[in-house]
């Protein structure tokens, strides 16, 4: 089953509910465009509420709605306009910096508590292994109870090496060790699972900063990738998270997890819009295969599938 199907399966389950009211309005608006009437206030308001209930957020929604209103011409389909607008937001994100080919490539997985970091490390290790790489995972969450044990189980499932911390060890030291071990054993890339931390906690963010600095000492330019894991159910706080983690650790891309629920993950649109950060992967379940590369086109199509 491809990304499109999986996503659509998740999203359409309840899309009907939100768009119930909107459905009617869109049909009317699209039918009316023939009569050269500009899209009216009610329609715009309904569109606004729809986007906000998908967690797209007030700012991005405002701009999408304004752009749609400005662009709307006789005969245009409202649905197509909105889709094009959102796709445009994803298209405008900064492309990922080209991988510098340094070995080993170090990827840090970061985020607030419980978003799915450890699970993502497991899934990503599996994905990379399947594509012929030899990843090594590093358990740098030395804080949460049983976090290392959790990653150990994932490493076993993905059949990859794990470097784990000694009890209560400094996470930065574990990362250093893992990079050296990776180099010695010819493992590449190194995937680092970090402890969940709220972006408002200065001392924990300092710890993350230190992990980055120590990683750079072990391998030039490390961490080469910093993936911020966001839960698709997250509200507008996701933006604050993305901002803070970017300023401390230089986030290079987003992983959006739990898209197999009914949440739309609209924060991805807001982040692409405000911060120009690319969405790289999406999590669609708790199984090891439930991580797929993100496709903006498919995401937008699935978001507006069927009922519109």
């Amino acid at each position: 089953m491809g990304f499109f199907d999986r996503l659509r399966e998740g999203l359409t389950r309840t899309t009907q509910q939100i768009v119930g009211r909107f459905e009617e309005i869109v049909r009317r608006a699209d039918a009316d465009t023939g009569t050269a009437r500009p899209i009216d206030g009610d329609t715009m308001e309904a569109l606004e509420e729809l986007l906000i209930s998908a967690d797209v957020g007030v700012a991005a929604t405002g701009q999408i709605v304004a752009a749609v209103r400005a662009r709307a011409r006789r005969g245009d389909s409202l649905r197509d306009l909105v889709k094009a607008e959102i796709r445009g937001i994803f298209d405008a994100v900064e492309p990922r910096p080209a991988l510098n080919g340094r070995s080993p490539h170090v990827t840090l997985i970061v985020g607030v508590n419980g978003t799915g970091k450890t699970t993502t490390v497991g899934k990503l290790a599996n994905l990379l292994k399947a594509s012929g790489r030899q990843p090594l995972v590093c358990a740098a969450d030395t804080f949460r109870a049983a976090a290392v044990e959790q990653l150990e189980i994932w490493a076993r499932r993905a059949a990859v090496d794990l470097v784990r911390a000694r009890e209560g060890a400094d996470p930065a030291a574990v990362v250093f060790e893992a990079i050296q071990a990776g180099r010695a054993r010819g493992r590449d890339p190194i995937l680092v699972d970090t402890a969940g931390r709220l972006h408002t906690r200065t001392n924990l963010m300092n710890e993350l900063d230190k992990i980055c600095r120590v990683a750079a000492r072990a391998s030039e330019g490390a961490p080469h990738d910093v993936l911020l894991v966001l839960d698709a159910t997250v509200g507008q706080n996701g933006l604050a998270q993305a901002r803070e983690f970017t300023s401390v650790a230089g986030v290079t891309g987003i992983v959006l997890t739990k898209l197999d629920g009914t949440a739309k993950g609209g924060i991805a649109v807001a982040i692409a819009h405000d911060l120009k950060l690319p969405i790289l992967y999406v999590g669609v379940g708790e199984g090891i295969d439930d991580l797929i590369p993100f496709s903006p086109r498919d995401y937008v199509d699935a978001l507006f599938q069927g009922t519109w």
Partner: protein, 469 residues
């Protein structure tokens, strides 16, 4: 960053200053600002719409329009309506339950159930109860292990049978509690999606087997618009009795989770405010409302201060304050206490008038800076710490050298300290530092806090320090 709701309303009315009369159009402008703020705080779209309608009905009243302080009047209405929306329940567990009481924790993946189980175990143990915990999460790797580690940390026994059948594990715990006299059983469950039929069936089976009196839905304060749907579905399936709102120590406003209260109709029982096992608090609706309004959360601040400050120390301090004998030594122990209270940002967020994040961003609290202040004071002689007036130019140079700082920093600190003494003295005499324009303290109705003597003064520590920063 969010601007706080009350700041926005104030801004709208400030921009209207000089207008001869307030018109309904002006109120509409304010209402639009409020709606945006609610949506940015993740309040559910429909909840926000209905809310604005109710505020509009009340705000269009002539008395409000003609008032000299329409901004404050509208804020008062908003505050009232928020409190009404989010309920007035005092939180906690249900009042009556058979023994042993069974508490079932449930919710989506990653919302914080297991951590909450550990915290609740600790909370109950502190109340002199005898809790027993059990994990029924046989799915997430190392989840069972996680609860047993937390049990060790909390000093709470964890029922750990060999069976990997979730229902049997829960029933086993109940049987152990009955046989050995535990009075509460905390059942942790695997995170699940509300649309996962098999797992929702499993949850029902666990419930039917242990017949909990408390079914707590654990929700993340950072959650968005989908919260109502998922919580609603959990409620439909198992009849939730309360919500635990976790991760409230961040900067999330928690509007979505609070919308759950109004739509699904279950009260918030507890809030999680940190990663430590002690970071579980009873829910006080008016405090969270104040936080949403950006008016600060003074009561929680006082409670934290009370935990962090030694009672005897506080009384001594109070006595010295009255005699205007506050020294640099006292200053240092205040600083230490303040740091014990947790990350500075979260403490600052509770202070009225500082809840305005825009203001906070310009004046970012700096933990490093506090470390330097401590270093400076440590480099002083006991005599200097007792009486700061003896610190002359050459002493300042010596202290700067000793603490690795500069004379300019010493000067600044001493100036701040002098100012702080002045403020503290004022508070000591019963005055209050002036709050920002239009800021009002939430009503101090909390009985527990009022019973503690001297608490008003104790608050002076953090206040004075922040004022001088």
């Amino acid at each position: 960053m969010f601007e706080s709701l009350s700041t926005r309303v104030q801004d709208v009315f400030k921009s209207l200053r000089g207008e001869a009369r307030l018109t309904p159009e002006h109120v509409e402008t304010a209402l639009r600002a409020i709606r945006l703020a609610l949506l940015e705080a993740d309040v559910n779209v429909s909840v926000a719409r209905a809310f604005i309608d109710r505020v509009r009905d009340r705000a269009m009243d002539q008395a409000v329009l003609r008032s000299l302080t329409p901004g404050q009047q509208v804020i008062a209405i908003v505050r009232d309506e928020l409190v009404a929306l989010f309920g007035t329940s005092e939180g906690g567990l249900t009042k009556h339950a058979p023994t042993p009481r069974v508490v079932l924790l449930l919710g989506l993946q990653g919302s914080g159930k297991t951590t909450t189980a550990g915290k609740l175990g600790r909370w109950l143990a502190r109340q002199g109860r005898h809790p027993l915990m059990v994990s029924t999460d046989v799915r997430r790797p190392a989840a069972i292990e996680q609860l047993s580690v937390l049990g060790d940390q909390a000093g709470v026994r964890v029922h750990a049978p060999d069976t990997m059948d979730p229902v049997a594990r829960a029933s086993g715990a109940l049987a152990e509690a009955r046989a050995t006299g535990f009075d509460t059983v905390i059942v942790d469950t695997a995170g699940r999606l509300h649309i996962d039929d098999d797992l929702m069936d499993e949850l029902q089976a666990i419930r039917d087997a242990v017949r909990p009196s408390d079914l707590l839905y654990v929700a993340d304060a950072m959650t968005g618009q989908d919260a109502i749907r998922s919580a609603g579905e959990f409620h439909r399936r198992v009849a939730v009795t309360g919500v635990v709102l976790t991760k409230l120590d961040g900067d999330a406003r928690g509007g979505a989770a609070l919308s759950v209260v109004s739509v699904v109709g279950v009260p918030i029982a507890f809030v999680g405010s940190g990663e430590r096992l002690d970071d579980l608090e009873l829910f006080h609706p008016d405090r969270v409302v104040s936080r949403m309004l950006g008016m600060g959360d003074v009561l929680s601040l006082i409670e934290k201060a009370e935990q962090a400050i030694d009672k005897g120390e506080a009384e001594q301090l109070e006595a010295r304050l009255r005699r205007n004998e506050f020294t640099l030594d006292d200053f240092r122990s205040q600083l230490k206490a303040l740091r014990r209270m947790g990350p500075l940002e979260s403490v600052l967020g509770m202070i009225p008038g500082l809840g305005n994040l825009k203001q906070l961003a310009d004046n970012k609290p700096d933990e490093k800076q506090m470390g330097r202040v401590e270093a400076i004071i440590c480099s002083m002689t006991p005599a200097e710490r007792r009486d700061h007036t003896v610190i002359n130019g050459s002493r300042r140079r010596r202290i700067a050298l000793g603490s690795g700082t500069s004379v300019a920093e010493i000067n600044r600190l001493l100036k701040q300290f002098t100012e702080m003494r002045r403020v503290l003295q004022m508070i000591g005499q019963g005055g209050m530092p002036r709050l920002g324009p239009g800021m009002k303290l939430p009503p101090m109705s909390h009985k527990g806090a009022a019973a503690v003597p001297g608490r008003k003064r104790r608050k002076g520590g953090p206040w004075g320090l922040i004022k001088t920063r």
